[in-house]
Assembly symmetry: C2
């Protein structure tokens, strides 16, 4: 039992038998890196990781709530006392220190001093990525997680038993995308959230895919035109079209105008469930295929095939699940998220993608890892 | 941007440009161990950890749901196909593989084969700690997290703004403990959950605190009598009383009867908000003080002082927050949980405890680390 007793649970132990004093041990929110899923030796059989993951939603919710309340945006480049920051955010005194010191111990705030003399400030990461006024803001997706998905995920059990979505649909009968596209403000929020988590992946694709043999690209479901502008900026010979619904065009136009390559990026309106795709040497779909069921996925693959010349490339950017379904936890969690959002939509492996592509007539296939859990699955006509 | 692009987000990358094949890289749910809160060098400024924690509730909810549905209990010592296991659990086909393969990739299941030929089984940890029929079951606390706290924590923002609890009270006006104590079945569930997460801490106290100078112990809020039986079993000279409300006595009696030291452990009924405590050389309170506001905490400290002889020890077992409030994330999260459960109740540092103890007349103080985030704060009269 010794190893169980001394293992850390989201925490460093208060220094043993050392009254009123704590050693400045390194913080360990992420727990020791365990070599699961390799079966542990008997001496390592403890419930520590089970409890760490089971309680994991607490820390997650603290961060999401901090983004919702604007902690990082309010701090900006300043340092503030718990009192001033709490007043600015409308926080009741009871939870101020617990909330801010949780964020501190998880590595999302810095602090000099303690108690009423303590002054809190952003870390390098939160200053850059969680201040709404900064261009690299990724909080849009966290706002969506907090406002919608945390609550809907509480019905994961029901989703697993019924195969039915557990989001707004449950109450309104209106599918997510219909609701989104009917409300310009929510649509722009959603697109901003997607932008924040896609930028690194699209930049990796622009840097690492060989565009030299191609002249034109059509990004299907292009939203704000992010992928098109990134590719056009880095490859001056490329002409790009960002294809999406007519409601999206004014949003895309505003974003594209800000790009140095705006002259080579055009928003194009259409509905990929009804219309053929614009012809292009490269067809990209960034986090599009996973939103649909098997029939619609295959339909989209066929549309891409039809729009490409011989030798053209079809690129799906997704949290592609590894073929053995053993490694890409985030891809499989995202697939459960598709269950909660849509029911029959799902994430998939590279092998699944290649099966559908072969059926449509594609000749060759490769996978290019992008950032984090995300890869480009690439099929050549 | 290179380090951002290649950092892992809950996942191992699908092997770069390697069609239809994935290297068996070690799984990394817990992400690389970062040295936060030390400010990172510019080259390490990525949003990876922000996104990992923000999305963290997904994996947490998958594990909690697996416990709720009885995945680990149904498997027991067997291996089962996704079809058989899904049928046994009443799972719709849509989510079966995503759900089970998520658990696999997070290290909570094992699998031989893939797809319809795959057979799932427990890991050493889930077989021992998450099968309801096993004595080391810790799933009680996870069942409570899933059934109650996941939903209530969705109102953390409201709790922080109002300082008010966000649990059953919000709807019924009846405080948690009143509801619990009015329902014998729920009371037993709650006590079983607490038992599961307390056993390691109580065993550590029994092993590491020097009981040689003491003959009697009273565990205040003793619930099932776990601490008393563990101390009595390991220290044959100790006589223990487990003090709790009259409703608890039949539950405690049943548990105590199973102990080899049952003859030296007695359940004693009383209400620590109204009655004095039984006299004893050692007074213990395991996860009791944190349930109350400052006035009631100080009242409990005074009661302990009054019940002890000179030289007697008052031991509070808690997720004691480090005095600098920088390290014990779990202790601070637990304090936010007390906000959600009770409003004005809170977790505390060793320094806070010692302040209250000095006010009551205690002379000396020490901290003994137990297991994980948990410590014993010990004051001597």
């Amino acid at each position: 039992m010794t190893s169980a007793r001394h293992s850390a649970l989201l925490v460093n132990p208060v220094t043993r038998s050392n009254p009123r004093r704590t050693e400045p041990l390194p913080a360990k929110y992420a727990q020791e890196k365990s070599d699961h899923p390799a079966p542990s030796a008997a001496s390592e059989c403890t419930p520590a990781r089970i409890l760490e993951v089971g309680f994991g939603f607490w820390g997650s919710k603290v961060l999401l709530t901090a983004v919702e309340l604007g902690v990082f945006t309010t701090l900006g480049g300043r340092s503030m006392s718990a009192g001033d920051l709490g007043n600015a955010l409308g926080l009741h005194p009871r939870g101020r220190y617990d909330f801010l010191d949780c964020l501190l111990s998880m590595g999302f705030l810095q602090r000099t001093g303690t108690g009423p003399d303590g002054r809190y400030s952003n870390t390098a990461q939160t200053a850059r990525f969680l201040d709404r006024s900064r261009p690299d803001y990724v909080g849009g997706i966290l706002e969506m997680l907090n406002a919608r998905l945390f609550g809907y995920w509480n019905d994961l059990g029901a989703a697993l038993k019924t195969g039915q979505p557990q989001n707004e649909v449950k109450h309104s009968q209106t599918p997510l995308f219909d609701t989104l596209y009917a409300n310009p403000e929510r649509l722009e929020q959603f697109m901003s959230a997607m932008r924040g988590i896609s930028a690194d992946n699209f930049a990796a694709l622009a840097d690492e895919f060989d565009f030299s043999g191609f002249n034109s690209l059509c990004d299907v479901g292009g939203a704000t035109g992010l992928l098109s502008t990134i590719v056009a900026e880095r490859h001056p010979h490329m002409i790009c079209q960002s294809f999406d619904l007519p409601q999206v065009e004014p949003i895309a136009r505003r974003w594209i105008e800000r790009s140095a390559a705006a002259a080579r990026v055009a928003p194009v309106s259409g509905d990929f469930l009804k219309d053929p795709l614009p012809r292009a040497d490269v067809i990209t779909m960034g986090m599009i295929l996973h939103d649909w069921n098997l029939d619609k996925k295959k339909h989209l693959v066929r549309l891409a095939y039809e729009a490409l010349p011989s030798g053209g490339a079809f690129i799906a950017i997704e949290n592609l699940i590894d073929d053995a379904r053993r490694e890409n936890t985030f891809g499989m969690l995202m697939s459960l998220n598709m269950l909660i959002e849509f029911g029959d939509a799902f994430d998939f492996t590279g092998a699944d993608f290649w099966d559908w592509c072969q059926e449509a007539g594609f000749r060759r296939y490769e996978v290019l890892h992008l950032a984090g859990a995300c890869s480009a699955a690439i099929a050549y006509k």
